[in-house]
Symmetry: C2
């Protein structure tokens, strides 16, 4: 299990990739973001998007899929997130794109109120197959402390 004590500030990680399909863009948009430019090329052509593109929230979800699979595979003792700062959708995400998720640990802080947990902040950058950043955000993540460290206060 990877705990708070195992995190190195400044460490960078390649979390993996996600292939974006037209069908999944449409399914997500119909359910959660039925704005015209997320539903058809024709409607998107009338906007700066140019053609069908993914909902920004779908890009978040696909990014989380990459992050969560990594965390589960590496048995990270995560406890969810209280929030996100400065989320920016920098470029549209199109059908056929492959997203690549990169992260860097910005800082980490033991909890003042709970000796068994800590938090850390990571800057996540998502690029497409051309290396162009399409999204970035800073997330705050809660994680368990190593049991013996927590017991030692």
């Amino acid at each position: 299990m990877r705990y708070f004590e195992d995190l190195q500030v400044g460490a960078e990680t390649e979390f993996g990739t996600y292939d974006v399909t037209r069908q999944e863009i449409l399914e997500f948009a119909r359910k959660y973001d039925p704005q015209p430019f997320h539903l058809s090329d024709e409607a998107a052509a009338e906007t700066h998007f140019g053609r069908l593109c993914a909902s920004g929230w779908h890009t978040c979800a696909m990014t989380m899929a990459v992050l969560a699979r990594y965390a589960v595979k590496h048995k990270q003792a995560g406890l969810g997130s209280p929030g996100i700062d400065e989320l920016r959708w920098l470029k549209p995400v199109y059908p056929g794109d492959t997203l690549r998720v990169h992260g860097r640990i910005v800082d980490k802080t033991p909890s003042r109120s709970r000796p068994d947990i800590g938090s850390y902040r990571t800057e996540t950058i998502v690029t497409n197959q051309d290396g162009v950043p399409v999204m970035r955000f800073t997330s705050i993540v809660l994680i368990r402390r190593r049991p013996e460290e927590a017991a030692a206060g």
Copy 2:
């Protein structure tokens, strides 16, 4: 069609509600956020969540569903969003909850580079059926200017 010129700074809107089901929580988590506390009551019982709760990104998606349906119904000339600031997941969202989405326009700004569009910021607060805030964020939204206003510069 509702344009930039129709937006009133300080205006508050009730966008609607969304009923959260266990099945949808599980479907979203399996696809996008397979952390144990989003997959079973048993795993969640070992965390501060207490029981199965929705992925925070799922709460974002459900909130967007309410916002997007409102925007489409009211023919708002939206052009997507460049980003989100200070997103906070304040309380867990559980199966059976009903989310209520409330928004307030913080400010609005004509584009300096493109006379046909403007942007505005809204503070979105999502509460559950007990009136408890479960999520808030500030979003930046792009919107078309009324054609005659844009032409007048």
